[in-house]
Symmetry: C2
Subunit: 153 residues, 2 copies
DNA sequence: TGATGGGTTGATATTTTATAACAATCAGGG
DNA sequence: CCCTGATTGTTATAAAATATCAACCCATCA
């Protein structure tokens, strides 16, 4: 799989720093465990399952139990640092943690890469559809499956 | 929970008939088991889990095993008679089985009722978003959570 | 200082959701 | 009737998530 390269270590580092900063502002606790789990979610740079995180987290130490991971993930999702991909039972780091939001995703069926869409227009259309159907909008998940540009070539 | 009444038996019956007819056209097999599972999915008229179907299916006879239900559901989804709601791990009858399509849903967080949206405009916007992000569209899930009209009152 | 209490993590067990693998059965064409 | 492929039955297990209670950490305040 050929893919556009970027400095991934840097990208992880900046996600961690952003999270740290936001937690300070919100006075929520970015504990070592939560930090480590966020780092592991980002490390794959693709959707990662809770149990994959668990395996990575357990390397070189006593195996941790599922609740440890799920609780950390719950926190990270709550803070908006991580999104859950429902159709994959997996998790990805959020590309825009400053603004809490539900994620809208494109998922490549060939390489499994995920692209988060932060398009306001799309969001607006979805909200509008909710209203037209008589619903008070709370949140939404949109997961589009398709083949990405790289994989098509 | 107050809700708009309709003749639900009739509504189940017509879903079964439609499925029957479509299977004849497609020359796929609408077996008694598949028919019964579709009937059970419709019977709740709300999202129903695979294991709830399993329980209902097992009433008054030897308990069936999970694969029996999952296989029937796979068939019904494949044929487009049933949709899976990813955010609930549950299933609902499709309101428009004639035309195979991915479902787009509104889910009420109060009463759990689900409304399927068959709006072409929404579908078009989603396809367009995929294209703009360089993806070849295959399919999509959209699940909007909110409060429905009845529950707001 | 050290008691208290909220939040976090650890640990054990279990529940919920889904699938793998193989055997038995059924339905339609030769 | 017999063969073949599809469907269903059966057993076992995997994968994903949660319930529950104990231990720990640490800030606050009497």
């Amino acid at each position: 799989m050929l893919k556009h390269k970027h400095n991934h270590d840097e990208c992880i580092e900046s996600a961690l720093e952003a999270a740290q900063k936001i937690c300070e502002e919100r006075e929520t606790r970015f504990t070592p465990l939560r930090r480590r789990v966020l780092e592991l979610v980002w490390s794959k740079h693709q959707p990662i399952t809770a149990y994959e995180v668990l395996d990575l987290l357990s390397e070189g130490q006593k195996r941790v139990a599922p609740p440890t991971v799920y609780r950390a993930l719950d926190f990270l999702i709550e803070e908006g640092f991580v999104h859950r991909i429902e159709s994959l039972n997996a998790f990805v780091g959020c590309s825009d943690p400053e603004h809490k939001h539900q994620g809208h995703f494109m998922i490549c069926t060939k390489c499994s890469n995920v692209t988060e869409m932060n398009e306001k227009s799309l969001h607006d259309v979805i909200k509008k559809a909710a209203k037209e159907n008589g619903y008070t909008y709370e949140n939404s998940i949109l997961e589009i499956a398709g083949v990405c540009e790289n994989c098509r070539n």
